[in-house]
């Protein structure tokens, strides 16, 4: 597979390490009530779609960027690649 790195262009997916569903960006706040349930759903449950899937890849053998790759799990077609840090900020994550 090839991941079209937003900064570096097309790179072999072999340079990357896969983590999983990009929903992992949305880590709950551990200091709130009922955090265990929220963390259970966050950490363990997945949509696991057959189709478009937003997922986290890490360019371990490259520039060490975490990326959000939108990829079709049936055809493996890559629809878009974004810098995860930008995505996280857009989702409102900061410090």
């Amino acid at each position: 597979m090839i991941i079209n790195h937003p900064l570096l262009g097309p790179r072999d997916a072999q340079e990357f390490v896969y983590l999983g569903d990009a929903s992992l960006i949305g880590r709950p706040d551990g200091m709130t009530e009922g955090a265990v349930d929220a963390f259970h759903d966050y950490l363990y449950l997945r949509d696991n779609p057959a189709g478009e899937h937003r997922e986290l890849w890490y360019h371990e053998q490259g520039d060490r960027s975490w990326l959000v790759v939108t990829r079709n799990t049936v055809t493996h077609e890559v629809v878009s690649v974004e810098i995860a840090r930008d995505v996280a900020r857009k989702m409102g994550r900061s410090k």
């Binding site: 262009g9 490259g62 520039d63 810098i83």
Partner: protein, 188 residues
């Protein structure tokens, strides 16, 4: 630098850098370059750039390498560069750079984290296409990237059609050396 009584070894474990020649290819271990990583601290981009300009450190775009008179640099990752300087004058490179950047940068000595081989010869892509997936024929002088060579993340710097540098993890110097030589023999 103060005089001390410890003698250095090259990454391959010799007193002097090793040079190997096979056919049109010469592979040389390079030890006279000091390295430091420079990363921009939050909200300091402007000041950081000014500091770099003032001291003469180039800040190349992603995927690139750039040389100024004293300093050369290649891009490591977002907001991070590797700076090269002559070892003789910059052995304690952080001490040299810190005053210039102050609180605008995180600076880390990287000199001995890496082994560097300069590979000189004609038709280098024919050798390097046996080593890495990077499209060497499409990227010309001034390109630089990190990619996998022999299962290891290594930086490649393309100085010219006839000269590439391979900068890989120092502890694996022997494995990288072996890979380079094997590829040269396979290609030529």
């Amino acid at each position: 630098m103060p005089e001390h009584r410890l003698k250095s070894l090259t990454p391959l474990g010799h007193d002097k850098p090793k040079t190997t020649t096979h056919g049109p290819i010469t592979i040389t271990e390079i030890v006279d370059v000091a390295l430091a990583s420079l990363a921009i601290r939050r909200d300091q981009a402007k000041a950081f750039t000014m500091a770099a300009t003032a001291i003469g450190i180039p800040l190349p775009e992603p995927g690139h390498y750039k040389a100024n008179s004293t300093y050369r640099a290649f891009w490591l990752g977002p907001e991070q560069w590797m700076v090269e300087a002559p070892f003789a004058s910059h052995e304690d490179i952080v001490a040299v750079l810190r005053p210039a950047f102050g609180a605008t940068a995180s600076i880390t000595e990287q000199t001995d984290a890496w082994v560097r081989f300069d590979v000189v010869g004609s038709d280098l892509p024919t050798m390097f296409e046996r080593l890495c997936a990077f499209d060497l024929r499409r990227h010309g002088s001034g390109s630089s990237t990190r990619t996998m060579i022999e299962h290891l993340g290594c930086y490649i710097v393309i100085h010219s059609d006839e000269k590439f540098s391979v900068i890989g993890p120092r502890s694996s110097a022997h494995s990288i050396d072996h890979a380079l030589l094997t590829a040269a023999k396979s290609a030529f």
